[in-house]
């Protein structure tokens, strides 16, 4: 969050408005005309014009103007972002002309009373996540009778990072190969875990508490080398391990549901973009994996920064912040640096798949033995504002995209469509189905 302040130290630079001189000359002319013609009624028409200009000049503001814009506040329930504009000193001005601009919203222009210190709340409602630059305020104070005006100045914008809200997910898919010696998942190796593997004869190094006395009583007597000897049996369990998950975010482009806005990136603030869906999907998956003790990392396509897989709440905070700060940098690059992935990770690719780059990477990673999950974050497209030629063009783009998704599925990449539904029920069901897939197959 940030705040901003503007101070216009221009007490001597108040200038006449465009209407001051015409009013003065018109009023003076009528006064002279009335005097020459001996007509008081004509002269009286000019009196208020001249008098208002004279009074406006006499009440010339003497102090500086100071306008401050407070840090933005985010209301999580309705997505309202509010910031307070404080007019500390209007320099003796009567009114302040404010023009408030925020990307994605239409400007609002108001003339407010600025005769004393006051606060004015500025707010927008948006479902968008990530870094927001809000409330650039152009302001200009005006003196009495609109005769003098201060120079135009501005304050802001202020910035705020809106973090994506995670959805609660059920079972999630695991990588083909688990790693480490601890964790919440059952490994294929014997070791210290919870799940029973088999019985084995007691050997040097086995702990005494692992001896299964019932099995020893049932099977151990007489199996030894001599008569009367007893062979001890121990219970062996599967070792535990954790999963390493790498989220790969394709933030090279950001499109909204209205296809008519894809060319200029125009998205209404009450519509989630592909990047909003990707952030929400990434946050939900990261939280689910980290909650079950796994390690999660993050890489961003086209950017060199990445987070190594790690566990814990601190890692969740870092992943969420990285996701929130990801944004397109110019035109989508066709050649991107391939993120380095640790071996045996589950790759979760978050992309719109509107070009071949993420598809090629996902297929390459699948062929190198990673389990790859492709999360399709393209919002449900709206074609209502397209002309027939644009509809045809979109149909071609959609067919190409379908073909890419089909090629992903053919290469063994599991594709999940991330729905915008707030409960995420369909996504959860799909992920649960994939979670039941045997890891061995590998």
């Amino acid at each position: 969050m940030s705040s901003a302040a503007s101070r216009v130290a221009v007490a001597g630079r108040w200038t006449p408005t465009g209407s001051a001189l015409p009013r003065l000359f018109a009023g003076g002319g009528l006064l002279v005309l009335g005097l020459l013609a001996g007509r008081a009624d004509v002269a009286s028409l000019g009196v208020p014009l001249v008098l208002s200009v004279v009074l406006g000049l006499l009440r010339r503001p003497a102090t500086d103007i100071e306008v401050q814009l407070g840090p933005p506040r985010y209301g999580t329930t309705e997505g309202r972002i509010t910031s307070t504009l404080r007019i500390v000193g209007s320099g003796g001005g009567v009114a302040a002309r404010l023009r408030v601009a925020t990307p994605g919203f239409r400007d609002r222009e108001v003339l407010v009373d600025a005769s004393g210190p006051r606060d004015v709340d500025l707010s927008v409602v948006t479902v968008r996540t990530g870094r927001q630059h809000l409330f650039r305020v152009d302001h200009q104070c005006r003196g009495a009778h609109a005769v003098l005006r201060a120079p135009m100045d501005w304050v802001g914008p202020v910035s705020l990072v809106v973090l994506p809200k995670p959805a609660l997910l059920g079972p999630v898919p695991l990588p083909h190969r688990l790693q480490g010696l601890t964790g919440s998942h059952r490994s294929v190796r014997p070791g210290d875990g919870g799940d029973f593997r088999d019985l084995a004869e007691f050997a040097s190094g086995d702990r005494l508490r692992r001896i299964d006395w019932k099995a020893t009583a049932r099977r151990g007597t007489g199996h030894g080398t001599g008569v009367g000897t007893t062979t001890l049996f121990v219970r062996r369990t599967f070792a535990t391990a954790d999963a390493h998950v790498m989220l790969v975010l394709d933030a090279r482009d950001e499109v909204g549901p209205d296809v008519a806005g894809w060319d200029f990136g125009r998205v209404l603030p009450d519509e989630s973009t592909s990047l909003d869906l990707a952030r929400r999907a990434g946050t939900s998956l990261a939280r689910r994996y980290l909650d079950q003790g796994d390690r999660v990392g993050l890489a961003e396509l086209g950017r060199s920064r990445w987070l190594r897989p790690a566990g814990g709440r601190r890692q969740l905070t870092q992943v969420v912040h990285h996701l929130a700060l990801a944004e397109p940098q110019g035109e989508p690059a066709q050649k991107v640096a391939v993120p380095h992935l640790p071996s045996g990770v589950l790759v979760v690719m978050l992309s719109t798949f509107l070009d071949d780059v993420p598809v090629d990477l996902a297929v390459d990673w699948r062929f190198t033995g990673h389990r790859v999950l492709a999360i399709d974050v393209l919002p449900q497209p709206t074609l209502a504002h397209l002309d027939p030629r644009q509809v045809t063009a979109h149909r071609v783009v959609a067919l190409e995209r379908d073909e890419r998704l089909a090629s992903l599925a053919g290469a063994g990449v599991e594709v999940v469509r991330w729905e915008h539904a707030p409960d995420g029920a369909r996504v959860e069901a799909t992920l649960a189905t994939l979670a039941r897939t045997r890891r061995a197959g590998r």
Partner: protein
């Protein structure tokens, strides 16, 4: 196998052509109760048109007035309201002498209102909002000026209504006016 298009589909597609995407919402500014600037522009034009109606005596007058009214509607803080005020004064000069006629007091009020309101809302776009509190503050100054102007009008009507007109009074007023004009112009030059 694709479904054959129905009769309504091409019509719906034709209707969709040129349909504009929904407009983005505006930033919300929690100012007090306010009035739209377009309404104030209409008030300016209505006050000017009413003033013209009180003095216009021919279609030619109205023709010129309509041009100036259109100018006042598009640029309320421009030259048009002031020029129209001067025009009303000229028409008043050619009208029969009746300094205590109520229309004079109405004209003083309406023209002052139009010019000052025009100066206030002129720089604002049509869709801007003006807080009511601005009028409360500016209204006091407006009423003070009105009180002075109407009183001077009454005084002038009384003076000009006296048969033995005081010949030194116009001369004194002209001198005072010249001093005032010189002071104001020098201040404006300094301010600019």
């Amino acid at each position: 196998m694709s479904r054959p298009p129905t009769l309504l589909e091409p019509i719906a597609r034709l209707l969709a052509v040129g349909r504009r995407p929904p407009m983005a919402p505006r930033v919300e500014v929690a100012a007090g109760p306010s009035v739209p600037a377009w309404l104030l522009r209409l008030v300016v034009v209505a006050a000017l048109a009413g003033s013209v109606a009180l003095v216009a005596r021919s279609d030619g007058h109205w023709l010129v007035a309509v041009v100036l009214l259109a100018g006042a509607l598009t640029r309320p803080d421009g030259l048009a309201p002031s020029v129209l005020t001067v025009g009303v004064g000229l028409l008043l000069v050619t009208a029969p002498l009746d300094p205590l006629h109520p229309r004079v007091f109405v004209l003083v009020f309406a023209l002052h209102l139009a010019v000052e309101l025009g100066a206030l809302v002129g720089p604002l776009p049509w869709q801007a909002q003006v807080e009511w509190r601005v009028f409360a503050r500016a209204g006091r100054g407006f009423l003070v000026v009105q009180a002075v102007a109407q009183t001077l009008g009454l005084l002038g009507a009384w003076v000009t209504g006296q048969p033995p007109a005081m010949p030194w009074l116009p001369l004194l007023a002209a001198v005072a006016l010249s001093v005032l004009a010189w002071t104001v112009t020098s201040r404006l030059r300094k301010a600019a």
